[in-house]
């Protein structure tokens, strides 16, 4: 094993990204799908930070991208959970297969 560098961090973020993709494809429950999306967003944040640290350390653009991604992910999670709770009220289930009609 060697000293961790850019490639190690990219390995971790890629692995986490595809773990998130796997979860998104297999899960049929809206909350667990939202959790998989959070994993994907996190891996992207880690990518930005790693590139900023190792390749463009004279700028802070990657750091700001990460901060804005986190802010937008928080807004997205809040809206998604509001929709999920509303869906649970009308369908008594949050399985994606029970919500196939697009009318109230």
């Amino acid at each position: 094993m060697m000293e961790p560098g850019l490639y190690h961090i990219l390995f971790v973020s890629m692995a986490l990204f595809f773990i998130g993709i796997y979860g998104f494809l297999t899960r049929r429950n809206l909350i667990t799908m939202l959790m998989s999306v959070e994993l994907v967003l996190n891996s992207v944040c880690l990518n930005f930070i790693a590139f900023n640290k190792y390749l463009w350390s004279h700028k802070l653009d990657g750091l700001f991208f990460t901060v804005f991604i986190i802010a937008i992910a928080a807004a997205e999670a809040a809206v998604a959970i509001a929709i999920i709770i509303n869906l649970y009220r009308s369908h008594k289930s949050i399985n994606v297969e029970t919500a196939e009609e697009m009318k109230g």
Partner: protein, 173 residues
């Protein structure tokens, strides 16, 4: 001989990946949320390891403190305790794993073949003062406009959440 920093990195990476994997495969949704929390905390640890303390703090406050708690609350609101999620159909699980693994191998092969050019200029320390002056700066490398747009987005999301989750009155339905 491995240095302490290397060992800490591998421990954090293993914690992030293993709890992430358990979060997407666990059959109990509450455990899955807790594993997600561990994965997010491990990611904050990696940010600390990279000396990006501000992002690590934001990660802990917003993800571990905000989003994970929000997800756990919504699990409480929508699930009976002890209820297990149905296992994914055999085919779907197999093909999803195949897609994810082949995508991962493709991407990682591309990354390892690529030579990244590092910058030769003087590095900037990501101190809080530096981040703050850039966050509200309007000149070169300033992020005042995205900052304001993000604040408007958060306000819109807040109002949207209240409107969506509000119980509508029976006569207006």
């Amino acid at each position: 001989m491995m240095s302490g920093s290397t060992i800490i990195f591998y421990l954090l990476a293993a914690m992030t990946l293993i709890s992430g994997l358990l979060a997407v495969t666990s059959r109990q949704i509450f455990r899955s949320a807790i594993y997600l929390l561990f994965s997010l905390v491990g990611m904050a640890g990696i940010y600390f390891w990279l000396n990006y303390e501000f992002v690590a703090a934001v990660q802990i406050v917003v993800y571990a403190g905000g989003i994970a708690v929000l997800i756990i609350f919504s699990v409480f609101l929508t699930h009976q305790s002890g209820e297990e999620l149905p296992a994914p159909a055999g085919n779907r699980s197999l093909f999803s794993a195949l897609a994810a693994i082949s995508g991962f191998l493709l991407a990682i092969a591309q990354v390892y073949r690529h030579e990244f050019a590092t910058s030769k200029e003087k590095p900037v320390d990501p101190t809080i003062a530096e981040i703050g002056s850039r966050m509200l700066g309007t000149g070169e490398g300033g992020f005042a406009l995205p900052f304001e747009v993000a604040s408007v987005l958060l306000l819109a999301a807040m109002i949207g959440c209240i409107v969506i989750a509000m119980r509508s009155k029976p006569e207006t339905k």
